[in-house]
Amino acid sequence: GLEETICSARCTDNLDDPSNADVYKPQLGYISTLNSYDLPILRFLRLSALRGSIRQNAMVLPQWNANANAVLYVTDGEAHVQVVNDNGDRVFDGQVSQGQLLAIPQGFSVVKRATSEQFRWIEFKTNANAQINTLAGRTSVMRGLPLEVISNGYQISLEEARRVKFNTIETTLTHSSGPASYGRPR
């Protein structure tokens, strides 16, 4: 029975087709993921992948991998990346460019901002269904917390907590250029 099961298992998928993107913003770029739901053999390998392509000044909102380590390889362009460890220390703050590799351990928070015309990368993750959690945005951890927890945790007013929680309506990609809407809800 191997012929019709193991031997014929689909092992290939293409991540470079923007028309199959999971996150797509025409002005900013796209992100596609490949996990065991798309390619079942990945369940056996316990690995998954993410392809990202963002334009200049687009930002991938700060996020962490909940259940995987990640290895990021830059295929095109440059980006400014900051990575923060469990101790709250910035353990990477610099440019990554084509051909370079950056390992991002589980739980470490990362933010990326394209500094060249186009920044494209491939990220390999050590879980068949790697999950991210974002710090800012509509589906972020802040949106899931009550205002009182944010207000007491950061010693800010309820109004400020409301801005922290609701101002960013994007989920993954946002503009990082231009003036921020200081204190004013979008």
Binding site: V83, D86, V91, G107, V111, Q131, G144, E148, Q155
Partner: protein, 252 residues
């Protein structure tokens, strides 16, 4: 990771080896290098949260199973991608045209949703509750009782879910730990900050679309309260009433 780590000739009862004091409670950590814990591949932590104490949201790279040993309180977990199913629209009055109605409309525009607040599920805790928390899921606790809330947790360091080393590593979203992760060798002298502290304030301001001053506030740099803080004023998060708080139904 350790050869012969289960070659145990004698077992002993263990007491906590590290105590982290905070404004409204303390966190007691057992030495996970103790032979029997190292063999079991687990770490053990006890949270003691005083009345009106809030354990600020944090997550681990391991799966965690907790047990409420004493007291009562509230707990929230933030699961990636899940909706804010607890919603408070009490500022609205049906058909109301008064001041409250106008205030509600303003907030509706502001949030685009029409709710005073909305967040993920909040649960009541009482003695005996057992709580499973997947890796990477942020969790907070609040003691709304009159006696200390005591929660004990086991962290499964040896599971494949934990892809870091065999050290318990809390990631704090808020607050800080001035004493540092004293249980991790080589980190004795480093205070632990919240993870937002590691980003440049300008980056946070752009990500959250807030001013830089508020972004700096999120970093808790001038904050010495630790990870369990005392809540000033009411803690009016949205939660369903307990069964005992429901009004008695009339029987026919």
């Amino acid at each position: 990771q350790f050869p012969n780590e289960c070659q145990l000739d004698q077992l002993s009862a263990l007491e906590p080896s590290h105590v982290l004091k905070a404004e409204a409670g303390r966190i007691e950590v057992w030495d996970h290098h103790a032979p029997q814990l190292r063999c079991s591949g687990v770490a053990f932590v006890r949270y003691i949260i005083e009345s009106k104490g809030l354990y600020l949201p944090s997550f681990f790279s391991t799966a965690k199973l907790s047990f409420v040993a004493k007291g009562k309180g509230l707990m929230g977990r933030v699961i990636p991608g899940c909706a804010e199913t607890f919603q408070d629209s009490s500022v609205f009055q049906p058909g109301g045209q008064g001041q409250q109605g106008q205030q509600g409309q303003g907030q509706e525009r502001q949030m685009g949703q029409g709710f005073r607040d909305m967040h993920q599920k909040v649960e009541h805790l009482r003695t005996g509750d057992t709580i499973a928390t997947p890796p990477g899921v942020a969790q907070w606790f609040y003691n709304d009782g009159n006696q200390p809330l005591v929660i004990v947790s086991v962290l499964d360091l040896a599971s494949h879910h934990n892809q870091l080393d065999r050290n318990p590593r809390p990631f704090h979203l808020a607050g800080n730990n001035p004493q540092g992760q004293v249980w991790v060798q080589g980190r004795e002298q480093q205070p632990q900050k919240n993870i937002l502290n590691g980003f440049a304030p300008e980056v946070l301001a752009k990500a959250f679309k807030i001013d830089v001053r508020t972004a700096q506030q999120l970093q808790n740099q001038q904050d010495n309260r630790g990870n369990i803080v005392r809540v000033q004023g009411p803690f009016s998060v949205i939660r369903p009433p307990l069964r005992s708080q429901r009004p008695q139904e009339e029987v026919n």
